[in-house]
Structures are given as structure tokens and as C-alpha cells.
């Protein structure tokens, strides 16, 4: 019987704008449904996210679950329209495939403000989206899983539901209008239930119903409701397996050490001591380092640490001070990356009676270090390879792994895993490449390569180091002039270079979260400067906005303080965007901002829009004899629509703690070409005794649905700095703050 499997239905602006640059036909041409090859002969697949066979319903999760709950969220969107009960299906991660191209990621990579909904801006977003679709880029990141999924998966579920109704009509002779769906079954007028699996065979020969109406929010059973996340029971009972927990018959364990001077060569090594470690099977070279294969991860780690290595020196400045010097030297015309914002005559005359504030801010490198260290399991044979790991760009993991061992990407099968955290760490490829290099030297034997925590810290491509130089003046009652210049390595260029896609053009990330500030300031300019010659950097949760947001909102407090303006009232007053202003107003109300606090207790506010999401945070601190204690944080964020309020609150709280903790005590500094910080004692982030109460409110006034993974991060550090100033009078212009204050 034929399967109606090859038609994919197009959703979102990409299909509408197809004609603009790439030709309507080429963009409209669908990517084939990869489930065609996965579905059983007696099953049906309508689209890349749904498979039904006589044994049940399987929903595909296209994105990587790094703790943000996509495996639940995506199933929920499909189940909403498909009328599935929460225990009526299984989920499975997608194989890497162009059909899972990310429709939301490119939209915010174009240089238009998220609040700019002009035809030009929307067209350019659609063009960028169309390009992503043509390439078929499947990527998890940029807080894009929800906006990527929200319309697409509901359409997919609705289309499948309507086709199942049509199939039931064909099968029973009852007209479609008299059939309804509920709990994974089509219900006949007499109450007879036909579970979807029993309709699979008929559905496979039923003309698909494409013309579907999405349900009104008033009809939702699941969206917007507190639905328990599917993965939480397993994660609460030690049953959840991560990549590092995979156990295959005959599998060996391995670990790797690369040059601590990132990217540098290994000139030579002596593995005599390493080979003597109890349990070691072999010590083999990999690109830029060595690997040990053993009967336990522990023995493999002992062994790689026992190899005597002759490392080449770093090809970047070996000492940290020189990194800051490089940034300092970047504010020159020849290193100007782009003027991202210019309102008014910024270079015009200065009134000589203006209050002027100037400051330099610094944000260090910070490591990612999710709790599950980087690992990948690989099996290489003569014919091809299999890889098991959690990765956010699986097509590129496959491509780079194939290249490393002289194979073609289509010879490699990739098995996505749940990740024990990422924060951007699982966007990089070094561990996957080394795992296949090892497996390629022991073909036929699966090998699980795990980095020791120390090696993971050492090899982390951290958040960009960044320096901000700001100047502002006021004639007394408002901010009249604000200049923000930011120098930083280009994260985008660094990452895309490793992906084999050298990126030309200015890097939006250098000024992210700042150039798009919604404030009405008479003269406002934001410029990005690119610093070259520094070691690799990578996307760290909220990317450029995490450092730039600190600069802008910490400095905004300085000029507002000089003119004795209330930090929240002034921001609300300056704010040009209605739904942004509501976020600030909500934070003011939640925190009871105007209630006086006792001496030694201070409130600080910060507002940053990143990934299209405006977030205002108020932090409350108290100066105690043991140090600064953070007592409360209030967060208001507008994502357009909150899909799951419980998970939303959890992710926001987590993002706040991520931002605060790193601002308090974490950095990566280089000495002798290597990162000095090698385990959590050196860069802890926040521990439970430092965690404040965190109160969260999700607003829904924004015009488009957005994701929440990253946006809570950028306001945290500046709100904390501003609160510490309010409580103690000490201004903090550099992270980590524990260089200057003690935290209780």
C-alpha cells in the first residue's frame, strides 16, 4: 500500500516569502519526510513528527533536550491538536535531517530590532528563514525551540488528526462531520472508540487533509496549563540515561587530553607510565592530543593524565593581562565592526554644564561546564559509523566526524541523547571528533570517550571576553546622551569557522541586548569593535547580551544616579515600547519597589531585551557581617505566550541563578596559554545557600511567541551590581564581583 509520506506542509513566514530571493518553487519544495524509512510497513507517517502503527503513536522531538524540556514541549504541541492523552504516546529524538530545519533561528540573526515589524524587517527575516530552510539547518539554540515549534507542530498535529478522521470515515462509512477525536481515538456517534493505531493502515491510503484550522486558545487542554513534564519522573528516580550512561556490549571507555593551549599541536609524547595504569588497553594519538582506552573511564582518565606530553605553545597571548590589553587596543577605526545604533547627532557639541559620566566595564571569559562532562560514544566499522551523544547541531557533528575519519556523512548514524545541561557547550565538536578518531583506530569496538572535569574546563571554549567604554551626559532631568562602545572577539566568527562556514560581516553578538535598547535618548550610539588574535570563544547562555547587557544596564544606573533619577521610573519613562514598559512596571510592582528598605538593604533593577524577549529583573541584597546576601529577585518577562507555566518559572529561576552565580564568582583566566580554572572549586557559580527567593511573572503582550531559555540571564548581573550599589555605595564595573566584594 502506498504511504502518504512524502508531502511536508509548510508553515510560517518562510513559505510566504519564498518568492523574494530564492525562487518560490525551490523554497516551497519540501524536504522529504525522514520517517518514511523509520515507520513500520503497517504504519503511517503524515509528517516528520508523527508515526502511528498498530502498536502505538510516536512523536518526534526535533530539538536537543538540554534540560529546557523540549521533549515534553514538542510532544505537548502535537498532542494538543492531535487529541492525545499524556500517557498515549512515546517520544523519540529526531535523526539529523533537513526536514527539521529551524524556522525561528534566522529571524533574529538579521539586523533589525525585534520590535521592528516593518515590511522590510519581516521580509529580511523571511529571507533568512528561507535560507535556513534550504540548507535544512537543524539546530537547538538561541531560545528558538518554542517559536520554531509553536505553529509548525500544531499544524502537524491538526493535519494528522483530520486525516485520521477522514480515515475513520473511510473505514466506517460514518461521515467526517459526525466523528470526533479524544484521548488518542476517533469516536463514533454511538461512542465506539477507534484508537489511532487501529486506523494506521487506512490512514496510509487516505488523502491527507491539509486545510486545517488551528484551535482557538479557549479550546486548549494542554497549552498554557501546568502539565507535568514527561522526563521528570525518570530524572527524579535515577532512571534517566544521558550520553555518559550508554552501555553497549563490548564497549570500552576512553578519555582524551588535548593541548591546554587551545588548538595547539602535540609535538611528542611518552606514554610509558600511562600504559602501565591498571586497566588500560591502549594509548593512541588523536588530533592535537592523546587518548587512552581502558576498561573504565577512571582508568582512562588516570592514563591520559600520566602521559608525558610535549605541547606546542599557544598561538594567542599566553597571559591574561594581554587579553585585556588586546581589547583596550581595539577601540580604533580599523577594528570598528559596525555602528549598530545611532539616534540623534551623537558627535555634536556638548553643553558645558552637563553632568558627564564615563566608565569602562569588563566581562571576563566564563566557562560553560554543565554537570554532565562532554562525552561521545562511537563505533566505526569498514562501512560507516554510529555516534551516540547529545548535540545541538547534529548535522554538523556528523559532517565533522565523517571528515575526521575519511567517510561521507551519509555513512554515519547519529543517535541523539538527553543532555545533562549545555548552556551552549554542546554546540561544539571537539569531543565528537576525538571519539570517532579513537573508534576509527579500533574498528568494530564501541568506545565511550568522556572528558575528565579538569579536561572539560581546560578545553572549554568560553563566553567572549568583553570590554565596554561608555559615556553619558545629562542636562539634569533625563539622559540626553549615551555612547556605548564594546570590544570583544567575534563569537559568531569563532564558532562558524569551526563549523567550516567562515563568516563574513559584522557580528551582531558584540552589541547584542544593547543596540536594541528601547530607550528614548536624544543622542544614542552603540558601536561594536572586533578583537582578533584571542583564543576560541563560543556561545554561552545568552551570548553577547550576557556581557553587553551588564555594561549597558550597570552604566545606565550610573548616569541615573548622577541625576538623582529613580532607576525604574526613569527607565519606564524612557521606554518607547509599550510591552517592554509593561515588563518594567510589573517588576516594579512585584518588588514593591517604592517601599523603603532598611539601611544596608538595596534594590537594583536592570532591563534587557534579548532573543526578542524583554526581561526586567529587580534584585534585593542585604549587606551582612558575613558579606552580601541576595535575598529576593523579581523577574518579569514577556514571551508572547507561555506554553507551560511551571516549566517557564523553573527555567526563569534557573537563568537568574546562572546569571547571578557567574557574575558573583566565575571566570576563566589564561596563564602560560592555558585556562587556570580546572574544576568547580575554581568557578562554582551559585550554591543553594546563596540562592534567593525568585518570583516570576510571565507576561503575554508581545506580538510573537518567543523562548525563555536565555533571556533571564542578561539582566541578572547588572541588577545585582545596581543592588549592591544601592545597599553599600560600591559600584561594580567588572565581573566576577567577588574580586571586589564578599558574598555571604
Amino acid at each position: 500500500m502506498s504511504r502518504l509520506t512524502r508531502r511536508i506542509f509548510l508553515f510560517g513566514s518562510a513559505s510566504i516569502a519564498g518568492g523574494v530571493a530564492f525562487g518560490a518553487y525551490k523554497v516551497a519544495t519540501p524536504h522529504p519526510n525522514p520517517l518514511v524509512n523509520a515507520v513500520r510497513d503497517d504504519g503511517v507517517t503524515f509528517n516528520p513528527w508523527i508515526m502511528i502503527d498498530p502498536t502505538g503513536v510516536t512523536l518526534i522531538t526535533a530539538h536537543t533536550d538540554v534540560g529546557q524540556g523540549v521533549s515534553s514541549m514538542e510532544a505537548l504541541l502535537l498532542a494538543e491538536e492531535l487529541d492525545l492523552a499524556q500517557d498515549g504516546f512515546e517520544t523519540r529524538f529526531a535523526a539529523p535531517d533537513a526536514a527539521y530545519f529551524n524556522t525561528a533561528l534566522a529571524a533574529e540573526a538579521v539586523p533589525f530590532m525585534p520590535t521592528d515589524t516593518s515590511r522590510t524587517a519581516e521580509t529580511m527575516r523571511a529571507v533568512a528563514g528561507a535560507a535556513v530552510k534550504l540548507i535544512g539547518l537543524q539546530l537547538t539554540g538561541g531560545s528558538s525551540a518554542v517559536p520554531d515549534s509553536f505553529d509548525k507542530l500544531r499544524q502537524a498535529g491538526a493535519m494528522a488528526r483530520e486525516t485520521l478522521r477522514a480515515a475513520a470515515s473511510n473505514q466506517t462509512g460514518v461521515s467526517v462531520a459526525d466523528l470526533r477525536t479524544e484521548n488518542g481515538a476517533v469516536i463514533l456517534p454511538d461512542g465506539t472508540r477507534i484508537p489511532y493505531p487501529d486506523l494506521a493502515a487506512t490512514a496510509a491510503t487516505t488523502t491527507p487533509v491539509n486545510d486545517v484550522r488551528l484551535r482557538d486558545p479557549s479550546e486548549w487542554r494542554l497549552i498554557g496549563k501546568p502539565v507535568p513534564r514527561r522526563d521528570i519522573p525518570a530524572k527524579s528516580t535515577g532512571q534517566q540515561a544521558y550520553g555518559i550512561d550508554l552501555r553497549l556490549p563490548g564497549m570500552r571507555f576512553a578519555s582524551v587530553r588535548l593541548n591546554p593551549a587551545k588548538g595547539g599541536a602535540l609535538n611528542g609524547f611518552d606514554a610509558t607510565a600511562a600504559r602501565g595504569v591498571n586497566g588500560v588497553q591502549s594509548v593512541v594519538p588523536v588530533t592535537g592530543g592523546i587518548a587512552a582506552v581502558a576498561d573504565t573511564t577512571w582508568a582512562a582518565i588516570q592514563a591520559v593524565n600520566a602521559v608525558d606530553c610535549d605541547w606546542a605553545p599557544a598561538d594567542y597571548p599566553p597571559e591574561q593581562d594581554a587579553h585585556w590589553d588586546a581589547l583596550s587596543a581595539s577601540f580604533t577605526e580599523d577594528k570598528l565592526d559596525k555602528v549598530w545604533r545611532e539616534d540623534g547627532e551623537v558627535d555634536g557639541e556638548w553643553p558645558h554644564d552637563a553632568e558627564v559620566v564615563e566608565a569602562e566595564y569588563r566581562a571576563p571569559y566564563v566557562a560553560h561546564q554543565p554537570l554532565e562532562p562532554l562525552n561521545a560514544t562511537a563505533l566505526v566499522t569498514e562501512d560507516g559509523a554510529e555516534i551516540w551523544t547529545a548535540h545541538q547541531i547534529p548535522q554538523f557533528a556528523v559532517r565533522l566526524a565523517a571528515k575526521a575519519i575519511g567517510m561521507e556523512p551519509d555513512q554515519i548514524t547519529f543517535h541523539q541523547q538527553f543532555a545533562g545541561g549545555s548552556f551552549g557547550h554542546r554546540l561544539e565538536f571537539e569531543h565528537v571528533i576525538r571519539a570517532v578518531e579513537i573508534a576509527n583506530q579500533m574498528r568494530g569496538t564501541p568506545v565511550q570517550m568522556t572528558l575528565s572535569r579538569e579536561e572539560d574546563f581546560t578545553q572549554d571554549f568560553p563566553r567572549q571576553i568583553s570590554m565596554g567604554r561608555m559615556r553619558a551626559w545629562s542636562l539634569g532631568d533625563r539622559v540626553d546622551h549615551l555612547e556605548i562602545d564594546i570590544a570583544s572577539p567575534s563569537v559568531t566568527r569563532s564558532q562558524m569557522g569551526r563549523m567550516g562556514m567562515p563568516a563574513a560581516g559584522p557580528d551582531l553578538q558584540i552589541a547584542a541586548g544593547v543596540w536594541n535598547m528601547p530607550y528614548d535618548i536624544g543622542r544614542l550610539r552603540v558601536r561594536g569593535y572586533e578583537t582578533r588574535g584571542l583564543p576560541p570563544v563560543s556561545s554561552w547562555r545568552s551570548v553577547g547580551a550576557s556581557s553587553a547587557g551588564f555594561f549597558a544596564e550597570g552604566f545606565m544606573d550610573e548616569i541615573l544616579h548622577v541625576i538623582a533619577a529613580d532607576p525604574i521610573a526613569a527607565r519606564i519613562d524612557m521606554c518607547k515600547v509599550d510591552y517592554h514598559r509593561k515588563v518594567l512596571e510589573a517588576a516594579a510592582e512585584m518588588s514593591d519597589w517604592t517601599r523603603p528598605r532598611p539601611a544596608g538593604t538595596g534594590l537594583g533593577v536592570a532591563f534587557v531585551e534579548s532573543f526578542g524577549v524583554p526581561v526586567a529583573e529587580v534584585v534585593e541584597v542585604t549587606d551582612t557581617p558575613d558579606g552580601i546576601r541576595i535575598t529576593n529577585v523579581w523577574v518579569a518577562a514577556d514571551v508572547g505566550r507561555v506554553v507551560d507555566p511551571v516549566n517557564f518559572e523553573n527555567i526563569v529561576q534557573g537563568g537568574v541563578i546562572w546569571g547571578l552565580g557567574h557574575a558573583m564568582n566565575s571566570q576563566i583566566t589564561y596563564a602560560g596559554g592555558a585556562a587556570e580554572q580546572v574544576n568547580f572549586w575554581d568557578a562554582e557559580g551559585m550554591r543553594i545557600h546563596q540562592a534567593p527567593e525568585i518570583h516570576v511573572r510571565g507576561l503575554e503582550n508581545a506580538p510573537k511567541i518567543r523562548g525563555i531559555g536565555e533571556p533571564p540571564v542578561p539582566p541578572a548581573a547588572p541588577a545585582l551590581a545596581n543592588a549592591i550599589f544601592a545597599a553599600t555605595g560600591q559600584r561594580l564595573r567588572e565581573m566576577p564581583f567577588d574580586k571586589f566584594v564578599t558574598f555571604a
Binding site: G67, G238, R247, N278, W298, P370, L371, W681, E684, I688
Partner: protein, 154 residues
Amino acid sequence: MDLQINGQTHSVDVPEDMPLLWVLRDVLNLTGTKYGCGVAACGACTVWIDGIATRSCQVPAAYVTGPVTTIEALGQTPVGAAVQAAWIDKQVAQCGYCQSGQIMQAADLLTANPTPTDQDIDDAMGGNLCRCGTYVRIRAAIHAAAKALSEDKG
């Protein structure tokens, strides 16, 4: 050597200095206990030895002196079951990787102190890192488990 894990005796042939963590994970394939740091900085490897929460990355196999309980068996104890139920009810986990260790430690706390204050919780749980930042919910879940356990007794 013989190790008693979750009520079963296992005969293992491992170097004396191999940390219990790796015996569990790589020899016995009990992967619920996690490797996070290897230096007792993160608590992901927490198990009970003789009913006391211990960082298994710091205990050489030869020095395991009593029966070991891991996350896989914790739910069989009343305290463990209450903690796990609270963890699910309060939707604590994000990535979940730290939660085995958190739960082992929390169950240890509630066994020793059925009515912990926030300070007691901070003191007991301070060695367990959560990079995802679920601390607010961990506190709430411990309070909820304590309440449920006291109601069971009452």
C-alpha cells in the same frame, strides 16, 4: 572484593584505589550515580554508605566498609520515596543530571532531621551543585517531603 550494593552482594575485581563511583558506573553498570567533578565539589556522586550520604568519588573500593544504597534503590525506603514523590510533584528537575545526588543528600537530611529549617537545608545541601539552578524548587521539595512524612506519621 565483595561489595554490598542495594541489598545484593557483588564480587568485583578492581584496583583497591578505584573510587566506588566508577565501580558502580563502569563495572556494575549502575549509572544512576553520576560523575560531575571527581573532587567532591559537586555532589553528583552521592550514595549512602551505612545509611550516611557520602561522595562516592572519594571512597576507594577497598575502603567501602558497609552496605551501599544508590539512587536506584532509594525509592524502596519511606524517606526516599517521599523525597522522590516531592521532587516530581514540585517539578524540580531541568536537565536532571545533579538530581540523583541531590535526592540522596536530601533523603539523608530528612532521615537525620525530619523538620529542617531553610538554614538546615542550606547547610546539608550546600555541597550539591545544580548548574541549571533548581535550588528554589529543591528547597520547596524538601519542605514538602518533610510535611508528607510527618503527616504519614501522624
